[in-house]
Amino acid sequence: MSGSGGGGGGGFAPPDNCEAIVIDTQLSSPKPAVLAGIHVHDKLDVTVQAGSGVESVVVLFNGEVAGGLASPEVRSLRECILRGTKYYAEVTDKNEGQVKVRVRAK
């Protein structure tokens, strides 16, 4: 991909220490109807959802999908969730229908 950006030469952290994973990112495909009830500092559940041949990592609010996670660490995050580590996503910003979160282990 030309123009991949932001990190700079870094690879992806293997999930040696699932408790140490911390991700700051923006929700992919945020769902406006679900996001309407979300506020900064809310803590949302993080889970793996199967579909279209891909296991996506999604963020839930009251059991409904609020959006997905597609950050560079998503592979490690997915493997850690499947191994049993629980994570939450704290809302750090909400702006014109877009939501930023910080993901960390519970």
Binding site: M1, S2, G5, G7, S28, S56, P72, R75
Partner: protein
Amino acid sequence: MWPGWKEVFGSAGRAASAISCMGGQVDLYTYVDTLAQEVLESRAALEDFHVIPTQVSQSIAFEYHHSLETPRIYGLGKQEPPLSVTADRIVRFGLLEGDAIVKGGQVVYDPQSASSPELFCTNGSTADNLALILNRREAESMTGLPGRSPENLAEHLIQHSEAQVVVIKLGAEGSLVHDGAAGHRVPAYQTKRVWKIGSGDNFVAHFAFHWMNEGKSPVESADLASQGTAYYCQTRGFATPDLLNAFKPKPVVVSKAYLAGYRPLVYLAGPFFTLAQLWLVEQALADLKAMGLRVFSPYHEVGHGSADDVVQLDLEGIDKADLVFAIGDGLDSGTIYEVGYTCAKAKPVIFYCENETDENKKMMGGSGCTLCDDYATAIYQTLWTACAL
């Protein structure tokens, strides 16, 4: 980088996200390594587009200190064999890893190379109806006509290239859209915050969606693309039709003097007594100049010295300037004095400050200064303020 950001995106990937979020169906053809492919396919599943990957050993990575900086590029290697795509509607970006040979009905092409933009047909690509999207430097380079007006450049490209539509992006002045018959101006839009990385990709994506998917005119497509880009710059996110309808950015106001070629003089106020302070002054000087503004930098034009040596020369710099860009973190006494002096002269001040309390910014906020806590936003606020003078 600052503000922090680390994601897997290329130009075409961003465009795929942008078009898909607007409701278009997208097949993304791209070079990608194994690890980045997993991330990309996760995003594609969430945003409902399809990835057709061509495997490479390592994807290219870009590193920035801030979103206005020219990035450091890692992973550039040998040129890969070209991608080949045939479809009714295609968006083609210039690529660092290789090339894309496309054969399409309607095609939007962004060469993405200011120094040596490749003509669309050079690699064997064909289109029944081609739109070129270029920045001014690309248009000058592609035509070999530096210094010409956007109207002249677009007319030349319509006459001498295979394009039926030419869009030349002009920064704060918006864009010039030549629809094959005549040139039309479309505004840029102001935003509360500015995230610059990927803004051009979003412009291409929204133009392509409206022109190719929705059948809108080139001019209307460019205006909607400008608004879609503003949404991205403000949020770092991709607009849906509902979000875009609710988003009401104001067009950048460009004065007659600016349109006629006058470039306002910016006084660059800020401390330069440590390496970190000097680095920021150098960044601001370069970025303001890159926006086309003239800059009076006390560090560069007056320098260090005693009060007798420098103060009068600094204040004369403010007297000559049209507006001030002030670096407020640290509350340097000289900078705060310069801000007050400028306000007393009824000239605009853009006060860039990330780490001071509201109490410490009260006088500046209360006296009409534009307060910004983000560097790129502060530079753009300076540009937009200057344009209107």
